[in-house]
Symmetry: C2
Subunit: 594 residues, 2 copies
């Protein structure tokens, strides 16, 4: 089975739902043309389908080998990475001054779906490199930038993000890795980090670690953390590689999935201290981290979309090929492709509807990030920044939740063969599961949504977004198009539930914060269903407006209608679960203690 | 981490929700005493916790080895199996005349939860042996019974069920394995079977294969299938083992989970034909299979309960130990056990509520099977048989769906550590996934429920059951106990939705069968939520009535309330998804083809 980049779908959602085309017409991207965007997605698709996708199962079977602190990646991975970076894909949206192409971030986000769809374990390395790069671009000193950015942007060097320690997973305030001033402006780091993605490997000649650590005289808690850049090899004044730095991988984890991505335990300072360079200011590390956090969280959400897309493609292809059983409504006993059985159709519709809705949410978030940087006036930038902040937890958590759901449906469509590793569907199921956990568990995303994003700008960020959803509801209702069935009504009810639940949560943030937190996860789901439903409907309306090919436009309408009638319809139940059941959760100690 | 058999919960649900105590008082089980039942569950728990559970991870890591047609199980497995069978557990509910103990089937079903909770891969072998044994008990000739039953009941020999072929998974009508009359009353079989659980292994000295095959002159389709008993070793007249029969394992599958359970491809007749003995009549094989199908399907549902229980236990223990973050409603920044965070509480409540509801449904099905055999009058046996038939697809599919959901929540509670194989949570997630597939995929269960079970007895089987659910709703409403919150109302709405959706489906079975089939899976979920919610409430009411220890009774009320308010509340949305969206599913070809 192979992955085929869904070029047309990616472009349609990016342009007509996420708003890339509108932003382009407003001049946010200079003279960037429609045709160039399409050509880039198409070209990326060729590389992903032809070079990366064939390595996905190889990587899963082979995993990575760890010996004496060195990590060897799977056969073919190094060559593929070099070809990928050599083709310039790594620096697509990086600043031109450091060798990047300065293209929209949202286009890069769409390409992250392409790389991750071909192989999530492969795309993870570049994803971390991008995060490390962004941090240096935003907060690095001129010397750090000059030394590290050209090779990070080209992909010759890769990056890591090192936050987690055994006692500090979701709660970074208890981090212990220590930094000491060396007296020459540099620092010496000692400590241990765990769960470090691509912490050690053989894909690039140097690895640039971004490390959260605590100065010896820093205050306790998260306000005492600083960010350091710690290269695997020190860099000489002429740019050549110098001494091996005192940071080593100590072991690798045996994980449920993403076997080809090395997850390392790292030790700093076993030989006296790893040389580190401060990024930003002392004790301002958490603030620095926040600048790349939205993008990193969105990137993980896109992994969910990517694996969901890959699974959906493969399950649909299988279901069209596999014959089993006859169709009850037809005469005769001839066996039919399982894609024609109503129960299998329902599974495939769920897969496609959830995947496309999550894609729309993620891309809309990415375009908002672009607007937050490039919109002409400050108020528009501020509004876009808030939009990105509001949508990021949904992009991350909803998309990765449905990533797992879609992969599980993929197994079910395959039946017994889905449980056998040879078909590759089980790998999707194993790989994507981590995306619900890392970069802030989905529970933490939900808490972020309720405690920080709902009250943001005195509720205006939410209100503006809900207003847009209402406008979609009004448009589809006003269209009186019977092809949309009950979609208008169901989406209207979903948005009503979203608004009422939001008010209840904001009220309880003051009066009963435990109850508000207990409702956070069902609320995020409710938000994702209302937003995803409206966005798919927006996409269907756009297809009709654009005069997209009749069959494709009809398929978008069918899909939007299905999402509204079968999935968004859960919104009122989620509202009740939030409002009624949160008290019961808070009182749950008798159940949990027993 | 260890599994601890939940003896008290098992007994409480078995006696007071599933109705074992009532059946016992009616004399269905002779003079079987309450204390003996409790002693048996307790003793089984000691064996499971002490002997089987420690082998679960060993089995996962080691898997099974295949070489030259022989399968070697993981270290310690053979000894554990012999100790288990030697203690008499295999024949607990088998007929006394063949060496069994003749205890209630429902008690054996509860013990299947115990064995599967300790290790699903271990319990699978005995599960298959039981199915093979039941088939011979019901349909075997006196000679077959005398030759095979004593050693199948003792567990000295194990059994398999061989149905699936590459082209025939869900649809058995296309089976090709061929049987030829040898002229001496025996048959010679040739063909291939796949996905055969414990098809070859070293746990027992002989393996008794039950094989579905087609006589050369049989009609096409499923009406041309016959059942054969094909021993690995032929059995001499004196009961000793004779020649090796011509049936061999050809390869084993590399699966997502249950690594310790060998899943074999089998070849019959490579050397001319495997000797087989007819079970029942020629061409009546499918009817024979149906006699063990309800029990086998229920057994798979119980696997879902068992893994959900094991995961819930382990996640709760972890959440009570692991400290991370402070509680927002408390002063200070001291880190708390994650079990005290509202969002984690909600996950743990979902896990416990879904697990206990599925257990209640499965045990109620098991007691109905007992009643169907042992009730004094024919009408009562008929009604119980229909009850078992009605509940079986829900017991199988709802319980295994929630098995996967609960295992996934378990990973989420563990966070990053859940993704690492060492903690064992990922194994639960991998192992239990197959239970949604085998013994009839959950989609097929849903279709069975809608097409065969709803119309059964002209709808009376359903109506009687719904009447019992209504009576629970009335009782909890009438109690006016504020501890139940909105449970009465929500369960009432759920039962309303169940009734309306049932009527809609039954109508559409005649008018638009595709639409009815498209609604089957959401309907099964709706049924499971309504039934599970009412049963948990029944359990809470029973705890109050019985004067169970105050804390435990209060915990049952809290759990029942949570299930009703947070989970059963989805019922009206599922009803809408069935009624509104089924048409959209049927019209989905434009989406699926693209």
């Amino acid at each position: 089975m192979t992955y085929t980049t869904p070029v047309a779908d990616i472009l349609f959602t990016l342009n007509h739902v996420a708003g890339l085309e509108a932003a382009r017409r407003e001049g946010l991207y200079g003279d960037l043309g429609d045709d160039l965007i399409a050509a880039i997605v198409e070209e990326a698709g060729k590389f992903a389908d032809g070079v990366i996708a064939p390595l996905n199962r190889v990587g899963d079977l082979h995993g990575v080998q760890f010996k004496d602190g060195e990590v060897t990646t799977a056969p073919g991975w190094k060559e593929a990475y070099h070809a990928w970076a050599g083709a310039g894909w790594n620096g697509l949206s990086a600043p031109v001054e450091w060798g990047g192409q300065g293209l929209p971030y949202s286009l890069n986000a769409a390409l992250l779906e392409v790389w991750s769809g071909a192989s999530m374990a492969f795309a993870l390395g570049p994803l971390l490199t991008t995060s490390a790069t962004e941090l240096v671009v935003e907060h690095g000193s001129p010397e750090l930038k000059a030394t590290y950015l050209p090779k990070l942007v080209s992909g010759e060097w890769m990056g890591t993000m090192q936050l987690t320690e055994p006692q500090a997973g979701s709660d970074l305030s208890t981090l212990r890795t220590k930094a000491v001033r060396a007296g020459d402006g540099t620092y010496r780091l000692t400590g241990e980090k765990i769960f470090i993605t691509y912490g050690e490997h053989d894909l690039s000649e140097n690895i640039i670690h971004i490390v959260l650590a605590r100065l010896e005289d820093a205050p306790a808690g998260s306000r005492g953390l600083s960010v350091f850049l710690v290269p695997k090899f020190l860099v000489n004044a002429d740019g050549s590689l110098g001494a091996r730095n005192d940071v080593y991988a100590h072991s690798i984890e045996h994980k449920l999935g993403i076997h080809a991505s090395p997850t390392c335990s790292m030790v700093f300072g076993d030989q006296g201290g790893a040389v580190g360079y401060l990024v930003g200011q002392e004790n301002r590390g958490i603030a620095c981290m926040f600048t790349m956090m939205n993008r990193a969280r969105l990137a993980v959400g896109i992994e969910g979309v990517a694996v969901a897309e890959a699974t959906t493609q493969q399950a649909m292809a299988f279901a069209r090929e596999r014959h089993q059983g006859h169709i009850a409504s037809r005469p005769g006993r001839e066996s039919a492709p399982i894609a024609e059985h109503p129960d299998v159709k329902r599974m495939l519709m769920n897969m496609r509807a959830l995947t496309n809705a999550a894609r729309a949410i993620c891309y809309a978030t990415a375009v908002a990030i672009d607007r937050a940087h490039a919109a002409p006036d400050a108020a528009a930038r501020q509004a876009a920044d808030e939009r990105a902040a509001l949508l990021t937890p949904i992009a991350k958590a909803f998309s990765t939740d449905i990533g797992t759901e879609v992969a599980s449906l993929g197994i079910q469509v395959y039946g017994g063969m889905g449980y056998i590793e040879e078909t590759g569907i089980a790998q999707f199921y194993r790989d994507v599961r981590v995306a619900q956990i890392y970069e802030g568990t989905n529970g933490i995303q939900a808490i972020d949504l309720v405690t920080r994003k709902l009250p943001m700008a005195d509720g205006q960020a939410l209100a503006t977004f809900v207003g847009e959803l209402r406008s979609t509801v009004e448009t589809v209702r006003g269209s009186n198009d019977p092809a949309f069935g009950a979609a208008g009504r169901r989406l209207g009810e979903a948005v009503d539930s979203l608004e009422r639940a939001s008010s209840w949560l904001v009220d309880n943030l003051k009066d009963d914060i435990d109850a508000a937190l207990a409702g956070a996860t069902p609320f995020l789901r409710l938000f994702g269903l209302a937003a995803g439903g409206c966005m798919l409907t927006e996409e269907a309306l756009a297809a009709q407006r654009q005069g997209e090919d009749g069959t494709r436009a009809a398929a978008r309408v069918t899909l939007a209608r299905y999402f509204a009638e079968a999935l968004a319809v859960q919104a009122p139940a989620l509202e009740k679960a939030i409002v009624d059941a949160s008290g019961g959760v808070v009182a749950a100690d008798t159940v949990i203690a027993s």
